[in-house]
Symmetry: C2
Subunit: 419 residues, 2 copies
Amino acid sequence: MPLTLGLVGGGVVGGGVVDMLRNNPNIKFSKICVRDTSKKRDYDVPEGCTIIGDVNEILNDPAIDVVVEVMGGTGLAKEVTLKALHSGKSVVSANKALISKHMNEIEEAAAPTNPNGGQFLYEASTCGGIPIINVFLRALAGDKIKNFAGIMNGTTNFILSKMEMEGAGYADTLKEAQDLGYAEADPAADVEGWDARSKLVILVRIAFGVVLDEEKVPCVGISKVTAEDFAYAKMAGKTIRIIGSASETPDGKVSAWVSPVLVPSTSALSAIHGPTNCVQVCSERLGISSYSGAGAGRYPTANSIVSDILDLAGGKPKSHPYGGKVQGAELTDDYESEFYLRFVVCDQVGILNVLTGRMAEAGISVFSILQVPIKDKERVPFAVFTEKCKLSQTHQLLKLIQGIGFLLEEPVILPVSAQ
Amino acid sequence: MPLTLGLVGGGVVGGGVVDMLRNNPNIKFSKICVRDTSKKRDYDVPEGCTIIGDVNEILNDPAIDVVVEVMGGTGLAKEVTLKALHSGKSVVSANKALISKHMNEIEEAAAPTNPNGGQFLYEASTCGGIPIINVFLRALAGDKIKNFAGIMNGTTNFILSKMEMEGAGYADTLKEAQDLGYAEADPAADVEGWDARSKLVILVRIAFGVVLDEEKVPCVGISKVTAEDFAYAKMAGKTIRIIGSASETPDGKVSAWVSPVLVPSTSALSAIHGPTNCVQVCSERLGISSYSGAGAGRYPTANSIVSDILDLAGGKPKSHPYGGKVQGAELTDDYESEFYLRFVVCDQVGILNVLTGRMAEAGISVFSILQVPIKDKERVPFAVFTEKCKLSQTHQLLKLIQGIGFLLEEPVILPVSAQ
């Protein structure tokens, strides 16, 4: 008996799944639910498979074993996912926003202790084609993850690595990414770091057994990163990548954040260009391991969905969707790092004296100051690298310098990584 | 009911497995078979577990579900593996030499079509802690691998990356690796490339469905690589790594080989230092993905064994040990590449004229010639980079120049990679 699928969503990724499995004798496509049933598809609908407009035709069909949710969003998708799981259907999902937001309800419905619930598989939700969920759940099942960090969003890595290569500005590069189809018309979810944050929250749940409220995870996007920041980074032997980072702190909390980071030009992360993702994991037994590949796109994402579907077709036994680890650890929204502070000032006497005075007040030591020769005295960007301090100290500094007349913009504050 | 284990081999890796699973309530260690039962172990034997000297006590014990084979070798290990599988016990193995040599017999015993056979899992056999077997079998189950290549032996990568960093010679660096425990007293299996070749053969079976006779896979070790080769590589913007490479050729054959390769200094493989492994895979749907981590060592290897054991404890359904793909493809022992040829000659008039004449006879075009100013006229090493040609043409060249008086050593021939 083939495994019978109902797809909710028949767009780019759904079409990829159909293409990859259409000749597999163990898989049967039964129904594909789409918003507009009259729209022409860019793939052939398999024989015997019907295009429908009402998702209940899938949810109420007892012949359908697996619901493949590739519609996105957190409204109807939530209802579909939970209803399917509660009725004993398995769900294969690519929906990171839904999972990171409603982790607990999904866990409850798909827990192996719930005898009537279906299984929940979601490899495609996190880092596209990289099998990072399977690495966390299976390859490191007997190990203890200490920390992990990585490039978890392809769109922003495309933009940042292009800015690095071409010395281009943010706005122009975003426009180019949109023209090429790498960025959405409304790019906020990517460029503000929210997409990466959702993936970080999902991986933290597996790695540390902690459900984070994603709204509380410190998140800095790339929209304020300028060509000048890349120039200053280069002077310090570094470049800029947006990183999602999570670790257990010595006092048993979980530190998690998303931010552009100054990474050394010799690091593995600096070598990741274009819409590629890369996650580096440090675990107690295996040590450092690293996984990279396409972060998005029709077939990379479809490939992850297909590996989940084939797991179910192979008779995968029910297991905890997030590995079952549960800890009471709290999120800490503070962390220690060296920081890069970039100020933009209107040139006048005594600026450095004032700023370094406020930094001293906040307990922040200066490691180095970089300033290229001034071209325009009305707008002077310069960079300060700090010694190790806490993020909260840099926020304190922001308060201490608020309203100072020569500051033309809110300073950009980015962590600096040694690796 | 916990899963009951019998370990065959109680050394470094076996001890790591015990350490990682001793507190797992789903796992019970029943017996550990060792060569010398009186020898003191560097780990605590779990309560209720006995140290034995006769492996039949494990093979004939109906209470033992899983045999963990960490003894190595291809003699007794083969007998133990096949007997256990035939009697319905599952086998978790770290033994690459055994698998690559006796793939067919293991496959027969562990095939899902054999109702009485046990399961065969072997993540630890290939690239230590990297879950590359699982990536091939599961993450790429619906994809088609086009080619893969990587650093598959930690000892030789330790030696080569140290030679690169320190400008040191091969013999001294090997000695240092031996002193540090990274290389065996008899280093042949590592430095001649045989260990990497076994892993390559295992991965080829999964990727392309082809069982290769490993003796026929072209294999060049690192023992002839000199500090001069690194110097010439550096002049060309490259460094040297020993790579296992496999691909499907346009005419439907499988090309597979192990050799030191000149890789660009900016490549991901050149960034792999020390006893680390890294495999890069190019597949039709996912595109290029890359996996790196510790290639050997007690806990990295144990971690892979543990992930296999936990799969069995979780009720993993029986599946084909190598993914079930079978193709009639043949091995081709020839491949096309640019090559680096390093000659050592006794200086005299007309050497280049003679050598380039013979190269023309073999149909090989010269891309560039590098020669550092001569220090010792009695022993002059110099390098020729060729245009693209076939490995077989370089072998033809070797024949054409055999016996020429000014040649002091057999030339070193290494492929040059653009990536």
